[in-house]
């Protein structure tokens, strides 16, 4: 029988340490909606989403109530839109009509984000994929819930530098199109290398072409729980520290597995994966940076940060893997700046720079995330930062991503406000030396060699 102490421990995690299930994401395959008539295509997409996801929010709310565990977000990921629109869309404007349809469908079923306004162009782009990419600024400016992602590289294909160059321009154009809201559009746009097909987290979620008709993927969270657990092993050796993180990650993930199983059963949709990510929020005590500081850093960004993060990330995976039958998605500690109170404070204090953040992304999920940079930053510089991050993913055979927000009209010393879970961020300085000679070269960076690993 469960003891009163175990019950109290679980409830303390939920009530005081912000334990929650971050998202239940329903993946919906939309290939069967493809039509060469744009209106028919839009109608079919709306119909399929609103039918498949009609019970998603209610199911999430019921599970939340019955188990007493908050399920913060209910979301939808769909087949990359560039694949759906290739027969019907003859211009970026045609693609924008699909974005509007997705926004309406998301609102109708009550989800806060729908991901999959995406193009997978890791080797090359079709004309249609380029239309989609060029439609992103307008699509994100005229919708609220649509999230967009572009996969521009992979370990197998190398990096599509033509796409990287366009992405720099698109990020800048999206910032301009939403400049009245601190360039919020860029918070819904991710550029990936090695994008996973089953990621439940926004803004980079989409349902890959390797997936089935529909699937439930769940993202767990719990930085506050891990932080609280390791306060009890302050000053002890690494063995004890690692054991504590593993045990905590196991418990957190088991909750995710339970919720995923219930959601899958109730909706009659197969369970896909649990994403073992430590996902912070701007709330006090829900921060990955605070875990690193509890491990022994005065501020995140101090020497030792990368090693501490590598250890944390690995232990979370080791604990989590055993707790779930299937693990996938991004699975690693997230280090978004605007969504993590400790990261925000470290940037303000001057302890954390974009270069250190880049180093940290070599050992954890998922990349340069939610970083506000000066609005005057050139598109070539943004492409340069994207290329660097893609190279880390390509060479290290891991997913990396870039979600930068060049906040139009703001510069170092200002703060951008995004609101809600997206948080706020001080503008971080960016190296201003020019890289346009590199970025303006055409073609792609070849795939790295997979032998001679020294």
């Amino acid at each position: 029988m469960i003891s009163i102490y175990e019950v109290n421990e679980t409830n303390q995690m939920i009530e005081q340490e912000n334990l929650d299930v971050r998202t239940i994401t329903l993946g919906i395959h939309l290939m069967d909606c493809i039509d060469s008539d744009l209106k028919k295509l839009n109608d079919k997409i709306y119909q399929k989403i609103t039918t498949s996801a009609k019970d998603l929010v209610k199911t999430g709310n019921d599970i939340e109530k019955e188990f007493g565990i908050p399920i913060v977000n209910k979301r939808i990921s769909i087949t990359p839109v560039s694949l759906l629109g290739s027969a019907a869309c003859k211009s970026p404007e045609d693609y924008v009509t699909i974005a509007k349809t997705l926004d309406r469908a998301a609102e109708a079923v009550g989800v806060n984000f729908i991901g999959g306004y995406s193009a997978l162009v890791s080797k090359a782009m079709t004309a249609s994929e380029e239309y989609l990419i060029r439609s992103i600024p307008q699509a994100l400016a005229c919708t609220e819930r649509v999230c967009s992602s572009i996969n521009v590289g992979s370990t197998k294909t190398g990096i599509n530098m033509d796409a990287v160059r366009i992405c720099g321009e698109i990020v800048k154009a999206t910032a301009l199109a939403t400049k009245d809201r601190d360039s919020l559009g860029c918070a819904k746009l991710v550029v990936f290398c090695n994008a996973p097909d089953d990621n439940p987290f926004m803004a980079g979620a989409f349902l890959g072409v390797t997936e089935g008709d529909s699937v439930i993927n769940v993202g767990v969270s719990g930085p506050g729980v891990v932080k609280e657990a390791i306060t009890h092993v302050r000053g002890r050796g690494f063995e004890e520290l690692c054991e504590t993180i593993k045990k905590t990650a196991f418990k957190v993930t088991r909750v995710g597995q339970l919720v995923a199983g219930e959601a899958s059963r109730r909706m009659g949709v197969p369970f896909g994966i649990i994403d073992l990510s430590l996902a912070p929020t701007p709330a006090v005590g829900d921060s990955v940076a605070e875990i690193l500081e509890e491990i022994g850093l005065e501020r995140v960004g101090a020497p030792g940060t990368t090693a501490a993060l590598a250890m944390l990330n690995d232990q979370v995976k080791k604990g989590g893997v055993m707790a779930s039958s299937y693990v996938g998605g991004l699975s690693g500690a997230f280090i978004p700046v605007s969504e993590d109170r400790g990261m925000i404070d470290a940037v303000k204090a001057g302890a954390l720079t974009i270069e250190k953040l880049e180093a940290m992304t070599c050992v954890c999920s998922v990349g340069l995330d939610m970083i506000a940079i000066p609005g005057k930053t050139s598109s070539a510089t943004i492409s340069g930062i994207i290329a660097d991050e893609m190279a880390i993913g390509m060479v290290n055979q891991k997913t990396t991503a870039v979600r930068l927000i060049p906040v139009i009209g703001k510069d170092v010393g200002d703060t951008a406000q995004f609101g809600g879970l997206l948080g706020y961020a001080p503008i971080i300085p960016v190296n201003e030396y020019d890289c346009s000679g590199f970025i303006n070269r055409k073609g792609r960076i070849p795939a790295p060699i997979h032998s001679f690993k020294n």
């Binding site: 469960i2 009163i4 175990e6 019950v7 679980t10 109530k65 007493g68 418990k251």
Partner: protein
Amino acid sequence: MKKCIITVVGKDAVGIIAKVCTYLSETNINVLDIAQTIVDGYFNMMTIVDVADATKEFQVYSDELEKLGAEIGVAIHCQREEIFEKMHRL
């Protein structure tokens, strides 16, 4: 058998267990186990119950228990047992 765990936390007072158990009995919820402690003057109780034959739906008795808690000045939560079982048992 369908188990739920009811937790009651708050300032100690006369008759908390009686009132909770009266409600459970009226709703045909069977008490399987009760554990209770007082920590720093705070009442802390956990009850494992079987709700298989309850005369009301989960949402209803869960809300009514919370309301009952508000009346007697304690926080009452009802949760399905699986969340604890999954977290603490292999």
